[in-house]
């Protein structure tokens, strides 16, 4: 990074809103980032890196809070996050990428036309005429061979192109079939019964009840959750699922509760074996449980 530019650390802090209370510094950085194209591009790339680090879980707890509460507020950044997840899914499942077919095109010998008449002395008039005749004949022959050669090379190229188009179509068809199969499988997975989790105030952190365990099977995509809210009023609630270390792995807003019970589905994919706590707005303590991942049916 050029010396005239702020350091990566400073840019990161800026992007996480840590200079919002330092008006002058913040202003200076904002202006510099807006008007220097090169710096602007670096800032954009660091923004992408922050998202990658966030998805890697490679950030401090404070930075994670700053990301959720500040950095990810703009829709543009939420879209960037979504895009980063898309790329990860692609490269994590199929890292090998493409094997691009290479065409070998026969190299055509360069046609070299040299007019050497000016360099050779004229020995006689007849000789001159006969040479002109031979030269003309040779030129016609070269032209004819050239045409034949070109047509043969063109034919070869056309066949190769045709073959490649055909194989591309076949690959596209296969891909489309695979997409359909994946979609079918996903539908089947959706119809399988989800893992069940029932929580009540006995599962409050430090509560006296037995430890609650949810068993997640390999095919479970969702964890159907029911929280007994006791005497809490009906209405909309916000929930947040945290790991033991306090890292939020999922949250949802505006979940309706009725008759003192809050029912919703959580994604199973982000949950690995271990202890988790579920915060529900208006409840004084989180509900905690153990997750077990069963490897077999």
């Amino acid at each position: 990074m050029k010396n005239k530019f702020p350091s990566e650390d400073v840019i990161r802090q800026y992007l996480l809103g840590k200079f919002d209370d330092q008006e002058e510094r913040e202003d200076r950085l904002s202006e510099q980032m807006l008007f220097d194209h090169e710096l602007s591009e670096i800032v954009d790339s660091i923004e992408d890196e922050i998202i990658e680090d966030y998805l890697d879980g490679a950030m401090s707890a404070t930075d994670q809070v700053a990301i959720r509460q500040y950095f990810l507020r703009p829709v543009e950044r939420q879209e960037k996050l979504e895009f980063a997840q898309l790329l990860r899914r692609r490269f994590e499942t199929r890292p090998a990428g493409f094997a691009k077919k290479k065409f070998t095109i026969p190299s055509e010998p360069p046609a070299k036309l040299v007019d050497d008449t000016s360099t050779r002395p004229h020995s006689s008039h007849w000789h001159s005429h006969s040479r002109t005749f031979y030269e003309l004949a040779a030129a016609v022959l070269v032209f004819a061979f050239g045409l034949l050669y070109n047509s043969s090379v063109n034919h070869k190229w056309q066949s190769q192109l045709e073959a490649s188009r055909l194989s591309q179509t076949q690959i596209q068809e296969q891909l489309a079939q695979q997409h359909e199969q994946v979609a079918d499988l996903q539908k089947q997975l959706q119809s399988l019964p989800p893992a069940m989790l029932q929580l009540s105030n006995t599962h409050f952190r430090g509560g006296s009840g037995n430890e609650h365990v949810v068993e997640i099977k390999p095919w479970n995509q969702r964890v159907r959750t029911e929280v007994d809210l006791g005497s809490a009023p009906s209405g909309d609630y916000e929930v947040r699922l945290e790991t033991k270390s306090g890292q939020t792995i999922w949250s949802q807003t505006k979940l309706p509760a009725s008759s003192g019970v809050l029912s919703f589905d959580m994604p199973a994919k982000g949950i690995s074996a271990g202890e988790y706590c579920l915060w529900v707005s208006s409840q004084p303590k989180p509900y905690c449980f153990q997750a077990r991942i069963s490897k077999t049916s």
Binding site: F91, A183, S251
Partner: protein
């Protein structure tokens, strides 16, 4: 100008850039001349941001639902994945290799491989910017592809 507000973590970035444009147009229509229009834009945007930051507003818990479950979302993801394949195929071979390698060497266990890739591409910053440009190309391509599929 949109970037200015996005970088400030502003939820209504588009609305605020629109407001900036409107105010700048008003100022210019009033007949005053500004030798540096970009400076005028910046000062107006900065003023709007300060006004916005002062306004009280309720910030609900951000919805960072990393794995949304709705069928609509699943369909969208499938479509994006399909378009991603198409767009990856349209990249040059060197861009495709770079972005593939970039993602392969992420994570703590790949420090050496990451260093090698950085060295191959002129250092950490250059690699990062190159990867950013490729991602940008992919995003533009995927957006166009998804829109086309929707039509």
């Amino acid at each position: 100008m949109g970037k200015y507000f996005v970088r400030k973590g502003c939820r209504d970035s588009e609305e605020l850039s629109g407001e900036t444009r409107d105010r700048v147009v008003k100022i210019i229509n009033a007949g005053r001349e500004y030798p540096k229009p970009e400076a005028l834009f910046y000062s107006v945007a900065s003023k709007i941001w300060k006004e916005y930051a002062r306004k009280p507003r309720s910030e609900s818990l951000p919805s960072d639902d990393v794995l949304p479950l709705r069928q609509q979302e699943t369909d969208k993801k499938e479509q994006q994945a399909y378009c991603l394949e198409k767009c990856l195929a349209q990249l040059t071979e060197s861009d495709r290799n770079l972005i593939t390698n970039y993602y392969q060497v992420r994570g703590r266990n790949n420090t050496e491989a990451r260093k090698r890739l950085m060295a191959e591409h002129g250092g950490e910053n250059t690699l990062r910017v190159k990867a950013f440009r490729i991602r940008l190309k992919l995003r533009v391509c995927i957006d166009a592809c998804v829109n086309e599929t929707v039509k």
